[in-house]
């Protein structure tokens, strides 16, 4: 089921009412969450319900086995078996064809054609998200970070909670599972926040992402005919399409969770106002990046084994991050590109902090004293970070590595042979401008519609007019509805 659909419009209020009617019986409430979540997941295709149920059971029992045993070898064996099965299933669905195809190509190039067949399996929606969530639980139990749960229904609710099931945030057992194990009470403030998050999420998806999608599809489909100016416009629009799409989904997920009294983790914190690439990755897809930090980067040695190893670990983590998005070279290229940006940034910081550079910089201390210069500096660093990220999104969006290279090459010739090729460019730019103005005003708060308690927004009527206006604008200005990009991951 899609968040932006008539079905969900009926589903959410029904779930909300039934859920809170069961508020005195936690077990039944959790059972209801599981049933509702499986209905949500199986709405379009029920065949993969068995897969997610199997994942859940497997992780549940492996957690119990690991937690109840004192034998380290046994615990480790169960851990590796669980990791192997989870990643094996993910690999089968997501990466098998990719690797077979590439092996076939390489061997054919050397005159040794292989006859390996591809499976052409349909990727189950959200498999990458719930696989990682299940893995984190097993590893945390193994590390004795959390005790294994023996409450199967809570565990099913934890792994299958419908708002975040298909596109995250990737939750951790130590924060989400306890919420299912205790009695929930409806909190008015939390409920209102949930509605505001849902409203803003839908606005981001329908007005920003869907309108940008039309422009992006138009420009990328005709990339060979476009001048550099229009290619730049296409890259700019995709930068907002993917942000509006994915952060919009996360906002709706967090909002739905709050309506049910469940706090999900933040997944985005106004990433396009980041002043450097490192900060960007601390604000973008936070749940995945924290997952990769805790379960890949730190086990690889993190920053404990010297600078070279740390930089290598960063590149590995970003390559995995790219591969996580899908079995395509463009995703891996996008991951490595971002890894290289981070490595470059860290090297630059190290160089500036070194003794050789520190003194000349200290001599320029007066720079920091001037507010205007400081603000210009911040603005320039935000813009340069944004542009660097935008280049990466071109690679991410392109149909192949060759297309990406051609796109970037043509984009950077900065040629202007005509005006905007896409006829609705100006309206979409205006939507983006409004969107960024709201996000800019809210950049130091928790979320975009978290209005300050002072000023005009203190008045209820003003807030209601704003919410009503946003809801109507979403309806009136939304683009052709299209599926969430991250559903395919």
């Amino acid at each position: 089921m899609q968040f932006i659909s008539v079905e969900f419009l009926l589903f959410l209020p029904s779930v909300f009412c039934a859920y809170w009617l069961l508020r005195r019986w936690v077990w039944w409430q959790n059972l209801f969450v599981v049933m509702a979540s499986y209905m949500f997941y199986g709405w379009a295709d029920w065949r993969y319900l068995g897969l997610i149920a199997g994942y859940t059971l497997w992780s549940f029992f492996s957690g119990i086995l690991i937690g109840s045993s004192g034998n380290e070898r046994f615990r480790k064996g169960v851990l590796w078996a669980t990791v192997a099965v989870n990643l094996g299933v993910l690999g089968l669905y997501k990466y098998f064809d990719f690797f077979v195809d590439n092996f076939n190509r390489v061997f054919t190039a050397f005159g040794m054609p292989l006859d390996w067949v591809t499976l052409n399996l349909v990727l189950p929606v959200g498999i990458s998200f719930y696989t990682f969530q299940a893995l984190s639980y097993t590893v945390d139990v193994y590390r004795n970070k959390i005790a294994p749960t023996k409450d199967a229904i809570s565990f099913f609710a934890f792994l299958g909670f419908f708002p975040q099931l298909v596109a995250g945030p990737i939750e951790r057992a130590d924060t989400l599972l306890p919420q299912f194990q205790r009695m929930r009470r409806f909190d008015y403030v939390k409920g209102v926040e949930g509605m505001k998050r849902v409203l803003w999420g839908i606005f981001k998806k329908m007005v920003i992402a869907d309108n940008c999608a039309l422009a992006v599809d138009y420009i990328f489909a005709r990339q060979t005919e476009m001048d550099g100016f229009n290619l730049l416009t296409g890259a700019f629009f995709f930068t907002f399409q993917i942000y509006g799409d994915f952060s919009g989904y996360s906002d709706i997920a967090i909002g739905c969770g709050k309506l049910l009294g469940i706090d999900l983790m933040e997944n985005f914190r106004f990433p396009y106002f980041s002043r450097n690439i490192k900060e960007f990755w601390q604000r973008w897809h936070i749940s995945l990046n924290l997952w990769l930090r805790d379960y890949v980067y730190i086990p690889l040695g993190g920053n404990r084994k010297g600078v070279k190893r740390m930089l290598f670990n960063i590149l590995v983590v970003f390559a995995i991050s790219g591969l996580w998005h899908g079995a395509r070279w463009t995703y891996i290229g996008w991951g490595l590109y971002n890894g290289l940006l981070i490595v470059g940034f860290l090297l630059a910081v190290m160089l500036l902090n070194s003794n050789r550079m520190a003194k000349p910089i200290q001599k320029m201390w007066w720079w920091g004293k001037c507010v205007a210069i400081r603000k210009v500096g911040v603005a320039l660093s935000v813009i340069s970070t944004f542009l660097a990220v935008m280049v990466g999104w071109v690679v991410f969006r392109s149909g192949g590595v060759q297309n990406a290279v051609m796109y970037l090459k043509d984009m950077f010739d900065f040629s202007v042979t005509s005006g905007f090729a896409y006829s609705q460019t100006w309206p979409v730019l205006c939507y983006i401008l409004f969107f960024m103005a709201v996000e800019f005003a809210a950049r130091n708060r928790r979320y975009a519609l978290d209005f300050p308690s002072a000023g005009l927004m203190r008045m209820k009527i003003v807030r209601w007019v704003v919410f009503w206006g946003l809801a109507m604008a979403t309806f009136l200005l939304g683009g052709e509805p299209c599926s969430f990009i991250y559903f395919q991951f």
């Binding site: 008015y188 209102v192 309206p427 052709e480």
Partner: protein, 304 residues
Amino acid sequence: MARFIRNIVIFSFLMLVGLGACEYYARRQPDVYSGKADYVAVNGGDIETLFIGSSLTYWGVAPNVWDGGKAYNLAFNGQTIDMVYYLLKRRMKDMPNLERVILEVAYFTFFDSFFEDTEHWAKWIPYEVHLDVGRHPKLSRYGFEISCPSIFRQKVVPWAEQPLENCDSLGHADYRNLSVRSTEWKSSKDLIIQSHTISDWENVPGNYNYFAGVLELCRRAGVEVIVCMFPAHESYYTRIDPGQLAKMYELIGTLKSRYGFRFLDYFKDARFNDGDFFDVVHLNNDVGAHKFTRILHDDIMKSF
């Protein structure tokens, strides 16, 4: 909880008021569907020759140059053969003097998805609202214009998407003229061919039955049917899938032997050149459509 639900109810009510106002406003804005419905309802008795089909007909036939008048273009953009069938079934009785139907067949006609099965099912809504042709089991039965965002937004938010399409008094599109044609008009050929070439032929039997249904409707009403294949640009017909094209001709041959209609094929007609097209498959409204309508008229009339 009570306070929260009360606020949600009030907010939903305000939203309904807003949407109701939008619906009211949209209903009062003319569009091609309401325009054609009104014409058929009021002047249906005057129509002797009816052109029907998809955008090829909608853009490519100009009834005002049809000698003797009394011709009307009842085609719409994206109108598939199932929609043609339901439209004729519902509206034919409003045209008591109808003598002939000129029915379009195209490379994609027998292979298209049915409208109710596609993600564009909401396009049925104007058929329900204005033409009284309800078919889709989902929301269209309620007939809200606001449930068809692509058309609704064109009326309420003119800057948001393509401007509202319009047609002349005889149903011919009049916004795709040569003067507004892109200089790169041939460059979209691959996209167009891709959208018209359907690898999955599962809809062929269904589309064949709808086509036969149209012929049967006309036969029962005593209306002559002339099936017409529209001209296409060379860059289109040299690149399309020959297998799909051959299958189309085969199906037309089968139907022809069963119903005995006249089939006029202009698909690769060399009389049409670059100046007649708007893109590689559509004639432009001012030059190409007029030229084609005259040729079609002469070919039909000379055989009498």
